[in-house]
Symmetry: C2
Subunit: 332 residues, 2 copies
Amino acid sequence: MTQSREVHLVNRPDATPLPSDFQVVTVDVPAPGAGEVQVRNSWMSVDPYMRGRMRDVKSYSAPFTLNAAMTGGAVGEVVISNDPTLQVGDLVQSMNGWREVFNAPAATVQKVSATIPAQAYLGVAGMPGLTAYVGLLHMASLKDGDVVFVSAAAGAVGQIVCQIAKLKGHKVIASAGGPEKCAWLKSIGVDEVIDYRAESNLTKALLKAAPEGIDVYFENVGGTHMDAALAAANPFARFALCGMIAGYNNPEGASVNNLMMAVGKSIRLQGFIVSNHAAQYGADFQRDMVGWISSGQIKWNETIENGIENAVTAFLKLFTGENTGKMLVKLS
Amino acid sequence: MTQSREVHLVNRPDATPLPSDFQVVTVDVPAPGAGEVQVRNSWMSVDPYMRGRMRDVKSYSAPFTLNAAMTGGAVGEVVISNDPTLQVGDLVQSMNGWREVFNAPAATVQKVSATIPAQAYLGVAGMPGLTAYVGLLHMASLKDGDVVFVSAAAGAVGQIVCQIAKLKGHKVIASAGGPEKCAWLKSIGVDEVIDYRAESNLTKALLKAAPEGIDVYFENVGGTHMDAALAAANPFARFALCGMIAGYNNPEGASVNNLMMAVGKSIRLQGFIVSNHAAQYGADFQRDMVGWISSGQIKWNETIENGIENAVTAFLKLFTGENTGKMLVKLS
């Protein structure tokens, strides 16, 4: 019988997750039933939002079950098909990540084209790309002349936000940690890059990079980044609140002191979850993004760990900022 | 020659303003020129936003000039008119507060009707009333079924927010400091009143008052009030950010820890300054508010200090919460 390794959450972390909060378990995968396919995952995604699912609290996505395989984005190849809609060899996307092989009803996986690299469906052409698109264009209501500030700009979402803003003709200021990420951002055309680890005063650095002030802020970090953005914002600025990774493991890390500036400057802060907007903007996104990739206007970077045994390592690196671009785990 | 007393700002306060930061000065008021009127103020307004104007920083309203009369809302009676558009005895509204008598071009003051009490033009029928109206109905996009939370609810703006929400059929939770204010809020029909001074955990108190969660928050306070509102908010809640008085004298007092909840709950926070919306919503407001006052659906409370020599005292009481309803200074 086919075997698969999968990653279980065995303990709900209070602060930064530890490797001991997880366990890699080997399971037997029986033959798929009628109407089912068996899929061998090629790639799985690790994303910051998964940290929230490790808590046992009501949230926008259900908490992970303890001592069961976690879930998340994955792309893989159909190896057995008991359904006429899918053939062996088809590339499919699913939420059955954190495992090597799985059976599922054919209708619960989505066939994707092999014209772009498979892992792009977990990044630029997938949820992170849609997040960038919806956040910048719709939540922050990007308009002509806006100066755009992006935090965690070298991450899976941030790198796409920067490039969409650039291809639409905006001045873009990006913040990232370390010289390697900053060099990557320069290489994709970002106007001003701030290495926040090298700055003792982020507000000052931002005001120097954008003396005219910022009109749009794409928020991935929180804490001092939010305070700097509030301080540098022009009247009627719009902030898309996508994530605040500084506070995921330590809520104190996301403490904000300048929120009262939002009153005097008439700032709008819009929190959002991309899944609420996929139906409305998904088709526009697919059309625009395929065009931008084809014309070479959107590039991407990725950081890869190999093997399910390194999936937890890959996840934990999200919180120490060791990824440039999308963090991925190659499974086969 | 007519004499007038006026209040000067003589020092820009760093933290809580002190009486010594102000000086009452007696000046001569000459006869008004051609096209001018002379007005004796009956009432002047003190408002929290004036604290911001004491700082020498770029903001939505210009800083007060040192060693000159401050400005602010006032209503008074024309005592000399050199312009055909205004008659002696007319009631006029102006921004020439913080003084007893002034000359001004007739076009810079606004004639108002004496069918409602004069001081209402500084409160329920003036800027605070319009702030409540615009903030609740337009910034927070109030819609059927919304549960509404209001902080500083017994203040000039808060008391009107509560009543507009009630007359439109909503459940309203109000926060105020002390039993007297809470009793007033109960008397105007607020469903649940939280005396925040008597609560060690505001979030717990709010969740008890609104176990179904809140959909709209009208923010006047900041700090722990904002954190409680974020914690109790339902998905897609809308916050109107009108003021954050907790931080006006001490920016640390407005520190917010829960802002990251705005991401998962898709909350919209909209800062606003009422003057940016007066042209758009002023006429609707006047029509609705006159109707609500006439039908007895809107009541108001006010706290009065007498004489220009007590204007600074009245202003300082805003920050210790000693006013119930609109804080006013009666000048004649």
